[in-house]
Symmetry: C2
Subunit: 114 residues, 2 copies
DNA sequence: TGCACCAGTTACGTCAACTGCACTAACGGG
DNA sequence: CCCGTTAGTGCAGTTGACGTAACTGGTGCA
């Protein structure tokens, strides 16, 4: 039973880690600098605490970011990208550039009236 | 009711189009050149005809690729990226580079024995 | 005594992407 | 007459990312 689940292709590997819509957006926010849990939640309108926690924990376990909890009341937790996490910047930049350059028609569900 | 569903951020827009794991991989294959339906299916082990059709049709409707059906028997259909589709190459390249450079530990589910 | 605060956690349900299998049309070759 | 070929389609079912609602813990403030 070798690790069949690890594809050779770099693109496929990347996609293993960035499944849902939020995974990538969390990295995008963290590229702006270290952020607290609540700051991330505000920066990502619509995300649930559940999802945010899950993704954050996943990325921490994979070495993309660090979690620093300060033993204070009320608690304060700061998330910060590691070097590996920061190395995602070119990918995000490329996505951003494409998303900005592509015509709106590439994103609308169909010939969407009004 | 304006188009609320179209985010400003380029990254978020990109993610609107590339939801599932296959969407991106189909583009990756098409970057190698025009391909027939069957060629794509072989190049993407595990994909179902259903999924392939759906993604292809979506991308066609969004202007990322063209679908050319030759009125032959047996039928032959060729898919080819448009300029817009080809402009995704930098994004895919960045993903590939990251996926290749990142340590395996970033992809394994946990401290995976054996 | 009780509420607010932050950063979660737990239980449950939803939704869309995806899968497998069976099936189709139309024709050439045996 | 039947088989094989290509590019799908339809139906049923599964998976996993995600959402909502309720709740926790320890302290400051009223």
């Amino acid at each position: 039973m070798v690790d069949v689940d690890l594809p050779d292709c770099g693109v496929a590997r990347f996609l293993l880690l960035f499944d849902g819509p939020w995974a990538t957006l969390i990295i995008r926010e963290l590229l702006h600098g270290p952020q607290r849990f609540g700051e991330l939640r505000e920066a990502l309108p619509g995300i649930s605490a559940h999802t945010l926690t899950n993704r954050l924990r996943l990325f921490e376990s994979r070495g993309l970011l660090t979690r620093t909890a300060f033993p204070e009341i009320p608690p304060r937790v700061v998330y910060e990208l590691t070097d590996l996490g920061r190395s995602l910047r070119p990918v995000l930049d490329a996505m951003y550039a494409w998303g900005k350059a592509a015509p709106v028609s590439a994103f609308v569900p169909a010939s969407d009236p009004a």
